[in-house]
Symmetry: C2
Subunit: 415 residues, 2 copies
């Protein structure tokens, strides 16, 4: 393969992308509208053009590469992911879906010519929420599935507003709503799993059945500080001992719930956090995710009730503050079956899998047929320089995505 | 009472002391050899002189006020506590024992004249360890019960060495060993309880049966960090969930052990301490105290075994580092009975009590008959500006101390 034909290989495309925003100490940092981001979107546009796609950039900076369909009345099939990263993130999260989209469309064009439905590759401008306190700035605008009221005034860690960042990158901050699309009939996204399920099972392909809903809370436990030596066990109101009971309960309940539910306490701060003082206050985070909204809600309610009981038994007070609530997004059943059929045809192993992480596909699930395909992540690592997926796994995912796009855009079926 | 006779009242003496090192935002700060400390020891010496005591200052800055006995061959009876405080500490911790010593000796002198045994009040230079990383600098030198090898090179938070601090305060850093005493026959210390037992039981006097031994450890739990959304419960190695199980076990075991044993996790740091990442590492402190060395040792061994089991079950590693180990110090049984007799005579309610906090008396227990008397602490609060004990409780404690010193120094019994 010649250097000028990088667009034919997902692996080669990812090598190109990962050079943009590369941190000298490892990892890749591309934050919405910053210099590395602008360079990356220019590179994406250039490679789309090389692949024979018609390029356009929308009002918030999403880059599209279009392969026009023969049926002008049919809705479009869209595929892609996000170009932004977390700080010192990996090479694959987001970028894989864009690279595979370009490689797949270039292959379909070469092998089958123009599709019936218009096929589009997309590089969404933002998904991670790593520069401004908002996420899905790209797919949220395209689908209309996010409310961004007041977001233009949000500031990054340097005090630069989103409005100023857009102006500096050449975008009109007031024009975001024009990027809304209503002509998308299907969306497909290839992504790394960000977990270890596929690797542990030596499975090539994960067919996502749902992007989990998630709730995040702060739990504040208020007890009574005291001298570790002079306060008898019986009269303590130890906020950390109570919090520990809650954490133990949570894990047992999550394991018992099964069905893929995950519940995590990732952050815990004790006060005053001194060896010889009984903690008077503890704040910890609670993150619960599941594929089913009702089950998620029921689990959270059981958790609140259990935490209340534990607090009462310990003579402490517990209060909860919800700071994030996202509903689950089921993936299209017909497309899941189609992906399974493609894997069987091509001899790839596959399994159904839930996505505990959020993705652009979650927003599309509300407006069109949506599919999501996972490839393995080595060691389950993501959002870190060590993120890794082998070239043959990247190409396998691209092959399955290509098959799905063929079925969607070249077939005669309605969406 | 005239202003010039403050030495007659513990309450009045404490008012004087608390003005030295008073923080404008509340609390008292007197750190070893600092300006407030020097002013306080000068004030103590002056008030001792006013009370008719012969004042001397030893090589490390302990201040003695002596009431010479008629029996030159008899050992001395010593009473007092420490003048230093924690940063923004209370008015009573340490200072009460000095004030009560001066008030008691002045009263005994007035009422009974010279004692048979020499009676001495002492203001120890240091006990808290709040300026340099050492404690019992005063009583440790007097009793020879502490090894201070290399301590002169210890530095405070401003980088000033203990050697330099001693020189600045007018002491010879190399002469500390000369402050050792071998003529002490008995030691008595009045102190606030620093707990809520006496207040809850509306009890006037606590007769300390032992100063608890204590062990302090760091427990390091090492699991595997992971994405809170994409790592199924079954394959997690969650360091915080494992630590929580250990904390719950510890509390249950300490309650079950009874007999006054206290076990505390006061400090816990989780890493990376982010809501959506499973904690890969946790370090927490473990503080265990009990009146009996064998029982303390046995409890710690059971704890290590249990923590090991919990770690194994959770697929994490746990390691322990011991950074403090002090043996229990039983108080003299005969003196406990004498204090109980005095309380009965005077109509004060009393009870036996263990001291979960360390005290100067703990060092004397190894070298002479030693007694410790507690008065209530409001709300059990200590080491804070809110430390509080009512004047009548202060005077009640002083009265009991006076009775004990009378029995020890004016009686004919051998020690």
């Amino acid at each position: 393969m010649e250097a000028s034909e990088a667009y034919r290989s997902t692996t080669r495309l990812l090598e190109r992308f990962s050079a943009v925003g590369a941190d000298p100490e490892g990892g890749v940092t591309r934050l919405l509208y910053d210099a590395a981001w602008r360079e990356a979107q220019r590179m994406v546009a250039g490679l789309m053009r090389e692949a024979g796609l018609a390029v356009s950039v929308d009002e918030v900076g999403n880059v599209y590469g279009r392969l026009a369909g023969t049926d002008g009345a049919a809705s479009s099939v869209l595929t892609g992911s996000h170009i932004d990263t977390v700080r010192r993130g990996g090479r694959y999260d987001g970028a894989l879906g864009i690279a595979a989209a370009i490689a797949a469309l270039s292959r379909l064009k070469r092998e089958y010519g123009p599709p019936r439905r218009t096929l589009e590759a997309v590089s969404f401008c933002e998904e991670e929420g790593s520069r401004f306190p908002l996420a899905y700035w790209g797919s949220g605008h395209v689908t209309g599935g996010k409310r961004f009221d007041g977001s233009l005034d949000a500031v990054d860690s340097n005090g630069i507003s989103l409005r100023a960042a857009m102006l500096e990158a050449g975008f009109d901050p007031e024009a975001g709503r024009l990027s809304r699309r209503s002509d998308i009939g299907a969306f497909a996204e290839l992504h790394i799993e960000q977990g270890e399920v596929l690797e542990r099972e030596r499975c090539d392909i994960g067919i996502v059945d749902a992007i989990f809903g998630q709730r995040r809370y702060f739990v504040d436990v208020e007890g009574r500080a005291g001298h570790a030596g002079t306060t008898p066990m019986a009269i303590r109101a130890d906020a950390l001992a109570a919090a520990a009971e809650m954490i133990v309960w949570l894990r047992q309940a999550a394991v018992a719930a099964g069905d893929g539910l995950v519940a995590t306490v990732g952050m815990l701060d004790a006060m005053p956090n001194v060896a010889n003082v009984i903690p008077g206050k503890v704040r910890f985070s609670l993150d619960v995710r599941h594929r089913d909204e009702d089950a998620l809600q029921a689990f959270c309610e059981r958790t609140f009730a259990a935490f209340g009981d534990i607090a009462d038994r310990n003579g402490v007070k517990a209060s909860l503050t919800c700071w994030l609530a996202e509903r689950p997004s089921p993936m299209d059943a017909k497309l899941q079956a189609e992906i399974a059929r493609i894997c069987a045809d091509k001899g790839y192993s596959c399994r159904g899998i839930g996505s505990g992480a959020g993705h652009d596909a979650g927003l599309f699930a509300a407006v069109c047929r949506t599919a999501m395909i996972f490839v393995p992540s080595r060691g389950g690592i993501s959002h870190a320089p060590e993120e890794d997926t082998a070239p043959e796994q990247l190409e396998c995912g691209t092959d399955v995505l290509t098959g799905l796009l063929y079925a969607l855009a070249y077939g005669e079926e309605e969406l």
